[in-house]
Amino acid sequence: MKVGGERGFLEALVGELRAAAEEEAKRVIAEAEEEAKRIVEEARAKAEALKEERRRRREEELRRRAAREAALKRLELRRRFWNELYSLAERALEAALEEACALLKSNLEYRLMYLQRGLERGVASMASPSLVVHPCSEDRWLVERLVSENWERLRKLKPGLRLTVGSPLPGCRHGFLLVSEDGRETFNAALEARRRELEQRLLTEVFKLIWGGVSG
């Protein structure tokens, strides 16, 4: 090999070596940058997926919690609704009975009707034939009159009936109390007692009226 040719070869070799080293270095860096980019992107995607999953779970949990709370509140609302409805019905019935009692007390015909029907109902419902009727203070004369005027009619209801008018009751003003002579049976026809009884018994009718009034 000639000197000039050798030098040229060596220089070319050195140049090749430099270029190859440079190329390899660039390739290594480029690959690393590519890999680094992939790692970061993968992490971002994973973080996003984790975030999304946690958000979904949290939403689900919140929805469940909200549904539980809503169910409890709905129940509470329903309870309140029925309580208030009952209370409204009760108040309306109390007022109606109050007015009806006032009407009855102020009308002689009504008073007679109340006492006569009550007496018939009491006599028919009691087993004992020997009864004593204790009138309330303001209805004493009416009861005495009814017993004498309806004696035959009452006897037809209970053959062998013995009915006497007893002492008036101090604790009530209208109505009467029918008691068997042996004291075992009683039939309470005092107006106040009837009123209290009807406050319970008529509630169903009031509810029927309410549904008729609010339906549609």
């Binding site: 070596l17 980019k37 984790l50 958000r55 109606a96 018994r201 008529l202 609010v214």
Partner: protein, 109 residues
Amino acid sequence: MSVEPVMEEGAAPVELDVVFEELRKAEERVAEARKKAEEILKRAREEAERILREGEEDAGEEPGSADAGAELAELEREVAARLERVKRALEERADELREMALIALLEWW
């Protein structure tokens, strides 16, 4: 200047030394690049860890309760409206109620 290799016993010719030197430099360059690449990857992994950590720490928003609240408010309004209708119905039918109460008393219901 001569380029003739100076042959010494046990030593490479001078020109070959230049080549070997260049080879050493090339290896160094590549090793440096690998080190840099390692550094790049290390930073990337750290960045990835940070991203994942931040992702985990992110509490996010709290959706989902407004709808139930709106539904309940609607239900509450409905209950109030129904009670109001009942109240009105009872007021409108007060006469009927009184009549019913009187009949119940007189007829011994």
